[in-house]
Symmetry: C2
Subunit: 214 residues, 2 copies
């Protein structure tokens, strides 16, 4: 996607990317994001929440009573950031320690979503979290829909930043007898725990049994 002054990665610029497929893949793998906005009191607020991408649109949802949704529904500017951690990078020098990660930063102004798009957006959020869940679960009633605010942010101003690969130490440090290397990091989804009040005879669906991301 085209870059703007805001999406230009300034530090470690070679880690920055405007590659749309890369941006989409990070947004799709990440379960949740951190949403930054400016409170009416003039101070910044950062709140974690679930997101979903559909095409070139990012959806967020929540209670109409939530501080975040109330602010976003008024069209306040937001910054949405998603971060996936892949490894700790232990260099010989403290200074060159790092992390392998994949992150996306999005700038935009949300618009309120209503009507048919609202249902589509909630399906996207549900299936982003657990693919296949929407068709299986009891879908929202009219009053539940009214008790949910959905906003959309166009993915027109977004950038990715990625570090991968090995330790990079200063030349003179490679001869030091200090352990260096990576500690790979993964998010794992463990064995599902059925609800105690599960209706008798309900089997664990495949999309729950084999849940994984990325």
């Amino acid at each position: 996607m085209p870059g703007t002054e805001r999406t230009r990665v300034r530090r470690k610029a070679k880690r920055g990317s405007l590659d749309t497929e890369l941006i989409y893949s990070i947004l799709d793998e990440a379960l949740f994001c951190h949403v930054g906005f400016i409170d009416e009191g003039g101070y910044p607020v950062v709140i974690p929440t679930i997101h979903a991408r559909q095409g070139n649109t990012l959806y967020l949802h929540g209670s109409p009573a939530s501080h975040m949704l109330r602010t976003l529904a008024t069209g306040a500017e937001v910054c949405v950031t998603v971060t996936l951690l892949d490894a700790l990078v232990l260099a010989r020098s403290v200074f060159n320690h790092s992390m392998n990660y994949r992150s996306v930063v999005i700038f935009g102004t949300p618009r309120l979503v209503e009507g048919d798009e609202k249902l589509t957006a909630l399906q996207a959020v549900t299936d982003h979290t657990v693919p296949g869940r929407w068709d299986d679960a009891r879908q929202p009633s009219e009053s539940e829909l009214n008790a949910t605010t959905v906003v959309a942010i166009p993915l027109d101003e977004a950038s990715a930043k990625v570090r991968n690969g090995p330790v990079v130490d200063d030349d003179e440090d490679y001869s030091l007898p200090i352990w260096a290397g990576l500690i790979p990091v993964s998010t794992v989804y463990r064995e599902p725990v059925p609800d105690e009040r599960l209706h008798p005879g309900v089997a664990t669906p495949g999309y729950v049994e084999n849940y994984r991301r990325g």
Copy 2:
């Protein structure tokens, strides 16, 4: 800690807590945080970065050239948020789907850290990431210290928000033949990968071999 209007958890208030030990434990387990600040252009920015807590102080560090550190070093207000995901909560209704999580939101104004405290803070950040690493690695030179900015944020205005426990469905939905339950989520640290240029005979330290958090 005492509450303020900003740290009052408004939505799902019973999930909110000002318990200092809980707040500390979440900050200590989380490897990284998301820092929100207002750019001089007047828009919000959210950046992932490593943090460390020492007593009632949170430290952040980075390059003096970074957008975030340049802004924070001027004493701009920040919001620092940390989120640990513990489970996906699959209810019978889409509406009651949720996540089990532990999060902390901190409001404050950073101060620039210099002198002896700067070294202590960098040790805290290093040992927050990999406990024991500071003593083992090559510690910062004078020029590396000058190439690092450290800021401190007092943990005076912070709150935690926690959801745990089982699915909560509407009474009439419990009879539906829909699978419900939890998918537990963990972060795992896999087998360390030694650097290709490791000095011969350097063994993997115990703090790397047995790395875990929380």
